[in-house]
Amino acid sequence: MMDRRTALKNMALSFGFAVSGTTIISVFNSCSDAKTTVISEFFKASEMYSISQLVDLLLPTTTTIGAKDLNIARFIDKMCQHVLNAEQQMEMKLGTEEFSKRFNNITGKVPVDGNVEDYQKMLTTYFHISEAQQDAVFELLDSDYQLLAHDLKPDYRLYTFLTTVRELSLLGFFTSQTIMELEA
């Protein structure tokens, strides 16, 4: 079995957990023996729950470790807090709200009550789209939000959130020591 504890230990060492902020949630609640707490800086606790769910679906734990094992949700939170500029942060906040709204529309629940199937439904709805639609999404995201037509703004917000979470998941996962040493 993985070396999940080692992964967690490495991660703890690399992040230091010495961050300011007050939101404390349990991220590793699926595995009681490795339970630990993380502090988030950018997202609220309820939003961190959504991000953890998404991360687990984006890069799931299978016979090999997944994003959850490397606490990528916390990595995403840190990157949003420190690397995004003020404008990008504002768009990310709006995107998080938009995601919550759509989640409610599609599942009839608030995100924090959603289960794996609900989050899966979200990804199926917004990621299982045709190639032409995908191209349109990335074209939309290249636009200046402020100059966008009013009716395009909700999709811009939603996909800003989803693609940022996705890209940061990939970055955090594939540039981690665990994965890079696995690949080498």
Binding site: S14, L57, L58, L59, P60, T62, T64, G66, K78, M79, H82, V83, L84, N85, A86, L123, Y126, F127, I129, Q134, V137, F138, L162, T163, R166, E167, L170, L171, G172, F173, F174, T175, S176, Q177, I179, M180, L182, E183
Partner: protein, 561 residues
């Protein structure tokens, strides 16, 4: 008390390091001034870090970017891995009448720590071009004047690569080339098949390979982290090579935190007598005297110092009788080319860690080449092929186990190449000083007013078209052209603002890099360039510096300075 020296060198970058080494090795007591902090060889804080050791995985934080906003426009220098080698833009402001990306490294070693290491000789195709085409002024030197100095420099710095016997890319003193990978070899074969005057070769890089001994340095270990500083000294920098050589003579005094505010001129002797400096930390003003002064503070740095050095004799700046000081600002234009992929060579094992790229030397407007183009001069390509990693999936919406498994394996090969194009010297492309906007040391700030023009724009069209054409002919798929940044400064090859020439009325420096009217002041950094060529210019700066020191020392021995 201020001490007198035989020589003063302003700047410790690629030219200053060479001036220091050569002057000291000739026995001159030399004061070497650096405006920034001390960096000893080995003081490379990120050199041994892995990507996961960086808090933001190499990306600059928003707070860090706020301090380096203008330099972050390059998209790479301000990464977490290298940001400490570039100045704080807020502490070192400048002005842009037109956008100019001024990328600066204020510390001992300067940008020799972060240079691209491509070391290419210029040829008579370059040195004769201005005269033949009636552009600007003629270079006062030809290839034969600089050739032995290129060799001397290459022997010391160590350059690996392959000689091709091309007149426009003269053979160099080289150690064995780094290998091309299978995809690049195939591309090379395809180019040879389709073109008579186009050649793909491994670039000539100042990274050590082969058997030659270089004091205190080891062969390249393919870490591919050169820009962070190399603990092995495997690539050439002032810190690993020239400054230690100067230090070994016992003749060098290196003074960091020394901002030269003025070169002091004496109208009776018609010579410079020394320099005034401001201590960057204490703001104290000091003066040092010397028999000769080497200006190696970078193109913009040196030109600023000369413009600041006003006297009754030189009201517009030291040596500025021609009015050309600050004018003819050039930079190469690049980030135009093409990319492609191939599904071949899937089984070839490959680790993407070679710190060098392939090179396709200039093939336009050669005397014996193809029909003339609708632009003057030419360009070369630099590029590489490698297997794509997880980043190939960024612009997708895929997810799940299949995505994870796919990205744990190397992706298809991708090849990319960018042109490096010559920029003509235009009098109106200039930098000036703004006395109304001072920096924290009370010195005027620089204003840039320069742009690429029709010749460069026409050349760029050709660069993109030819890159696409070559990749398609070679069988690459999904070939796409690109043409992104078009701002001076972006290639970090700024040059030309104190040009060499025959005539004091139209140039600042003579054929030995002396200021025409002030013979004991030599300028040997990029500001001396009369035209830009398309070659990465550092090797030429180093060769001209070594040549100028030789000249200065000979004159000094004859009591002529």
């Amino acid at each position: 008390m201020n001490k007198a020296y035989d020589a003063i060198v302003i700047g410790t970058g690629i030219s200053g390091g060479w001036a220091a080494k050569e002057l000291c090795e000739h026995g001159l007591k030399t004061l070497v001034l650096e405006r920034g902090r001390m960096v000893n060889h080995g003081d490379y804080p990120t050199a041994t870090k892995d990507i996961w050791d960086f808090e933001f995985r190499g990306k600059p934080s928003a707070a860090a970017t706020a301090n380096q906003e203008t330099q972050s426009r390059t998209g790479f220098v301000t990464q977490e891995t290298t940001a400490h080698w570039f100045v704080n833009d807020l502490e070192h402001p400048y002005n842009e009448t037109k956008r100019f990306d001024w990328i600066r490294g204020y510390h001992v070693g300067g940008r020799s720590l972060t240079w691209g290491r491509q070391a290419l000789r210029m040829s008579d195709l370059d040195f004769e071009a201005n005269k033949l085409e009636g552009i600007a002024v003629d270079w006062p030197i030809r290839y034969k004047d600089i050739a032995p100095w290129y060799t001397k420099v290459e022997q010391f710095i160590g350059v690996c690569g392959e000689n091709l016997g091309l007149p426009h890319l003269p053979d160099s003193h080289l150690s064995p080339a780094m290998p091309l990978n299978e995809v690049e070899k195939d591309f090379k074969d395809q180019i040879s098949k389709h073109y008579k005057n186009r050649h793909l070769t491994m670039g000539r890089f100042a990274n050590l390979t082969g058997d030659a001994q270089h004091t205190g340095r080891a062969n390249c270990a393919y870490r591919n982290r050169c820009m962070r500083g190399c603990p092995l000294g495997a690539y050439f920098s002032s810190n690993s090579s020239t400054l230690p050589a100067a230090e070994r003579t016992g003749n060098m005094t290196l003074r960091p935190y020394s901002i030269v505010s003025e070169i002091v001129y004496d109208d009776i002797s018609k010579k410079a007598t020394g320099v005034k400096i401001i201590d960057a930390q204490t703001h104290e003003t000091l003066e040092f005297s010397a028999k000769i002064i080497f200006c190696c503070a970078s193109t913009v740095g040196t030109t600023s110092i000369l413009l600041q050095s006003k006297s009754e004799r030189f009201p517009n700046g030291l040596g500025n009788d021609s009015g050309e000081l600050g004018h003819n600002l050039m930079d190469h234009h690049f980030r135009v080319g093409a990319t492609g992929t191939t599904t071949k060579f899937k089984q070839v094992p490959y680790i993407n860690n070679r710190p060098a790229s392939f090179h396709i030397p200039r093939f336009r407007n050669l005397k014996d080449g193809e029909p003339q183009s609708n632009f003057l001069r030419g360009y070369s390509f630099q590029g590489s092929a490698s297997r794509t990693d997880w980043r190939r999936a960024i612009k997708e919406l895929s997810y799940g186990e299949a995505l994870k498994d796919k990205l744990l394996k190397p992706g298809p090969w991708r090849i990319g190449m960018t042109g490096f194009g010559e920029c003509l010297p235009y009098h109106e492309n200039k930098m000036t000083l703004d006395d109304t906007k001072k920096d924290q040391w009370g010195l005027p700030t620089v204003t840039f007013d320069a742009e690429f023009k029709k010749n460069e724009l026409e050349m760029r069209k050709d660069m993109q078209q030819e890159a696409i054409k070559m990749l398609k002919l070679a069988g690459f798929e999904d070939v796409k052209g690109f043409d992104t940044a078009l701002y001076l400064g972006h290639a970090i090859h700024e040059m030309g603002t104190a040009r060499m020439g025959h005539d004091p009325k139209t140039s600042v420096l003579n054929k030995f890099n002396q200021i025409h009217a002030v013979s004991n002041v030599y300028v040997t950094d990029g500001s001396c360039m009369t035209s830009s060529g398309n070659q990465n210019p550092s090797l030429t700066y180093m060769a001209l510096t070594a040549r100028a020191v030789d000249h200065a020392v000979k004159l000094l021995k004859q009591n002529l300075l």
